[in-house]
């Protein structure tokens, strides 16, 4: 999709008609929109896309569309119009999308008289034809728009790795690569299963009714607990952010700079060690699940194995054959090998003898089976004890290290406290937040355990209900549908998890590639399973500087777009979209600004970039200018009502 033109009339501070023709040249795919100051209308212009396409406006006083100065001068019964019109091409077709509100002043009060949304397509003769307004979802799906519109606030959220940013980027990745289809399918199937539980006809069965009631109550409890968990998680993110802010403040004091740096490093190592311990506990649980039963069995049974003298049973008894099978052979008169068995013959007598050693007549086979089982248990659990001991030793060693880290952190905290003055005050506040965070993390763990318990109860009650459902034909039919839905859901879940792992791996590669071009240092970026990212410097320390965070975010956005452009398989969305970015260049170093200018135009098909003129003309322009097709300037008049006009800058290059 290429955006060709945007026309605004009386839209917020853009009074009268303002027009921007975006550069759609392949070689010069960049349009730059600059303003002298913040507040000139960059965000409003970015939001004009959102309003035109989806009637969303993420701005203060979002219901106020018409320009303030126009409203002020309207006479009674006079009508005024506000609109945003966007001209674009998509999959070889040209569209004009127009959203319009008409306002009227009656008795001194201005109200919206009507609103209109219109999409026109230009056919091969150049004639414009109206099409269904719902087509907007096919041209630019709203869910996907989040990956090509990036306002300053979103970039900040992404760079700060807070919950909003985390959800935002996770959702964007899922939408672009089609995983949202699978997420939705799973969500709907899950609800359908619950609906089937309610559809079971309990008839006169009090037990069934009881189970159905329990399910409703437990589901409500589960949802409430999940909501509580979300609130605590948000608080957790907020506290972590506050801690980071205090750390930044402390690092700005020369007196404690090195102490704070060292604390950050120790805290990071401590976190890694705690993670390591979690992994070891998981390993322990898996090993116990796989081998503990065999280990215990082999230990118990080995006490009895000496009671049998297995030599007594050597060459006697064949596992898998019982007396009945021998009787059948004798009856049919033909052996398994095909030889005839005549009564009184040597073969006949041998089989009669053999019957004595086969169950149920003989214990020989049972003893052999018993012995075989002990051997199997012994083999499968042979190294079990040693392996478990090894893991426990590792856990012990790491726990000792963690204790050491905690002691060091406490010592540093005391030293920082002793610095007195402002530093002491900041450190005290930091410690308060740190303690609150610990409390919050404990509560989070408790809620997670509670959720697991409720889920277990739900599973058990559902199982009981399914069993009772076998009692009548109508319920058996519902049960059969549940069986199908469960298997479909499991298969989709399995596919989703495989696909997501592949995507995270690919995204990691793409983001690292873009990031390295932007940063040019020995930093490494890693994308975690929850779509958060961390940047580690050559000493293994996590980076926290604002400039670096913004570069990381831009690397991330670039990586997503690269991945989406390559396309992957049948469920993914292959259409390419422009990148429209309110770029916070102010916090970037000269080198980083130049790198951004070099890298971004090559990532997206079309780049529309909003920035302050001081940022654009210092270093950024000299690198990007060969790719820039058009430059516009937002000029703001700060009168009684804020007004902005858009002016094309001539002689760009």
């Amino acid at each position: 999709m290429i955006i060709k033109k945007m026309i605004l009339k009386n839209f917020r501070q853009y009074m009268g008609i303002n027009e921007i023709a975006f550069s759609s040249d392949c070689d010069k795919n960049v349009t730059v929109i600059i303003s002298e100051n913040n507040g000139a209308g960059k965000t409003t212009l970015l939001e004009a896309f959102n309003w035109c396409f989806y009637r969303n406006l993420n701005l203060p006083n979002s219901d106020q569309i018409l320009t303030g100065a126009i409203m002020k001068n309207m006479k009674d019964r006079e009508e005024e119009v506000a609109f945003v019109e966007i001209h674009l091409s998509n999959k070889g077709k040209n569209y004009i999308i127009n959203r319009k509100n008409i306002y009227i002043k009656i008795d001194g009060k201005i109200t919206r008289k009507s609103r209109d949304f219109n999409i026109q397509i230009k056919n091969s003769d150049g004639i414009l034809e109206n099409i269904d307004s719902n087509e907007i979802e096919n041209i630019i799906p709203e869910d996907l728009s989040m990956y090509f519109f990036f306002d300053g606030e979103r970039i900040e959220n992404l760079s700060q790795e807070n919950t909003k940013g985390k959800k935002d980027i996770g959702q964007a990745v899922k939408n672009i690569l089609g995983l949202d289809i699978l997420v939705n399918a799973q969500k709907h199937l899950k609800i359908i299963l619950k609906e089937y539980d309610n559809e079971y006809d309990a008839g006169n069965s009090e037990k069934m009714k009881g189970y159905q009631d329990v399910l409703v109550t437990k589901e409500e409890k589960l949802n409430k607990t999940k909501k509580d968990l979300d609130v605590l998680s948000d608080e957790n993110e907020e506290m972590k952010k506050m801690l980071r802010d205090y750390d930044k403040k402390l690092i700005s004091f020369d007196k404690v700079k090195e102490l704070q740096k060292s604390r950050t490093q120790i805290e990071q190592t401590k976190r890694e060690n705690i993670k390591h311990i979690d992994t070891l506990y998981k390993e322990l649980r898996v090993k116990n699940k796989l081998n503990l039963a065999d280990y215990i069995t082999s230990k118990i049974l080995s006490v009895y194995v000496d009671k049998f003298n297995m030599e007594d049973f050597e060459d006697k008894g064949v596992i898998g054959i019982d007396g009945k099978a021998i009787d059948q052979l004798l009856k049919r008169g033909v052996c398994l090998c095909g030889n005839k068995i005549e009564k009184g013959s040597e073969e006949y007598n041998n089989l009669i003898e053999q019957k004595k050693y086969q169950p149920p007549a003989s214990l020989a086979v049972i003893a052999k089976q018993f012995n075989q089982r002990i051997t199997e248990c012994k083999n499968s659990s042979e190294n079990f004890r040693e392996e478990i001991n090894n893991i426990n030793r590792k856990i012990e060693t790491i726990n000792e290290k963690i204790d050491g880290h905690s002691k060091n952190i406490n010592q540093i905290s005391l030293q920082i406290n002793n610095a007195g003055g402002n530093i002491e005050e900041i450190e005290t506040k930091r410690n308060e937040i740190h303690n609150d965070l610990k409390k919050n993390e404990k509560e989070i763990i408790e809620l997670k355990v509670k959720i697991k318990e409720i889920k277990n109860i739900i599973d058990k009650v559902e199982g009981n209900l399914d069993e009772l459902a076998q009692g009548n034909e109508k319920n058996r039919k519902i049960y059969l549908k549940k069986l199908y839905v469960n298997q479909v859901k499991e298969k989709i879940e399995h596919y989703y998890s495989r696909k997501e792992n592949e995507i995270i791996k690919n995204l990691n590669e793409k983001v690292s590639e873009v990031f390295l071009n932007l940063i040019e240092t020995n930093h490494k970026i890693t994308i975690n399973d929850d779509y958060t990212f961390s940047v580690i410097d050559e000493d293994g320390i996590e980076s926290t500087s604002t400039g670096q965070n913004i570069i990381t975010t831009l690397g991330f956005i670039g990586g997503i777009i690269k991945l989406a452009r390559e396309g992957h398989d049948e469920i993914e969305v292959s259409e390419q979209y422009p990148l429209i970015l309110d770029a916070p260049l102010s916090d970037l170093s000269t080198k980083h600004k130049k790198n951004v200018a070099k890298v971004l135009p090559n990532i997206a098909e079309q780049l529309i970039i909003f920035t302050l003129d001081k940022d654009y003309y210092s270093n950024f322009e000299e690198v990007i200018k060969s790719k820039v097709g058009k430059v516009y300037k937002l000029i703001m008049n700060q009168e009684e009502y804020k007004r902005t006009i858009i002016e094309r800058c001539k002689n760009v290059n």
Binding site: N134, E137, N138, P141, D143, G178, D180, I181, L182, N184, A185, H188, L189, I191, I192, E195, D466, K477, L480, K481, K482, L483, Y484, V485, N486, Q487, V488, K491, I492, I571, V573
Partner: protein, 53 residues
């Protein structure tokens, strides 16, 4: 749950059709979640019992 009594061909058809319908739901004309679920339930009903009719 036991899966031995269910037909894997029907499971495959259901997966394909459900994903197609969800794709339409996300990228097509907007409809409510409950209408979407009711359409999925109709599909499940038809596929699971089509051999009975």
């Amino acid at each position: 749950m036991k899966y031995d009594e269910i037909d894997q061909n029907i499971v495959d058809i259901l997966i394909t059709e459900i994903i197609r319908k969800e794709k339409e739901f996300i990228h097509g004309k907007k409809k409510s979640e409950s209408i979407q679920r009711s359409e999925l339930k109709k599909l499940i009903n038809t596929e699971v019992y089509k051999n009975d009719n």
